[in-house]
Amino acid sequence: MKNQITDLIGLKIYSENGMFIGEVEDVVLDIDSKRIDALAAGKLNPEVVEVKTHKGVKIPYRLVKSISDVIVIRHIPHMFNSGGEL
């Protein structure tokens, strides 16, 4: 189904086990492969992601399970312990 890319901006991101992770602030596009490469997430949940030196994290689009009223991403154990790029 086709959607507007601006519909993604501001959506809340949750992991599949229900943890709030952050909000979509921007979308990283890969022009060569004509795909969404990653979601740039901000307003991060400090309990999940350590935010000291960076404002956001990039969540690879392959981790996205579904997009509707919120975005659900796959949960990978220890994924968010160190923060930074996944």
Partner: protein, 83 residues
């Protein structure tokens, strides 16, 4: 791999590979299931003849396949754009 932030594309000018201005970018259509970018949604310039192009109200759609490159402008192939 060339990656670009979607917000940086906002209002970017779209030109054809033969140097003709078409309009400015309004949005991108994507397939959320596959992550593929399918179309450019743009606002055509008043002087631009939109005959033969896909229109959606005031906006015009150009298949993303037609995009040659994106730097200061979005350059589209003038033949592929008309589908």
């Amino acid at each position: 791999m060339k990656s670009i932030l979607a917000r940086s594309l906002s209002r970017k000018q779209i030109v054809t590979n033969d140097g003709k201005g078409i309009g400015s970018l309004r949005n991108l259509m994507v397939d959320f299931d596959t992550g593929l970018i399918t179309d450019l949604v743009l606002e055509p310039e008043e002087s631009f003849d939109t005959t033969g192009y896909t229109l959606d109200g005031e906006n015009m759609l150009i298949p993303f396949e037609a995009v040659r490159d994106i730097k200061d402008f979005i350059v589209v192939d003038r033949y592929l754009a008309r589908m």
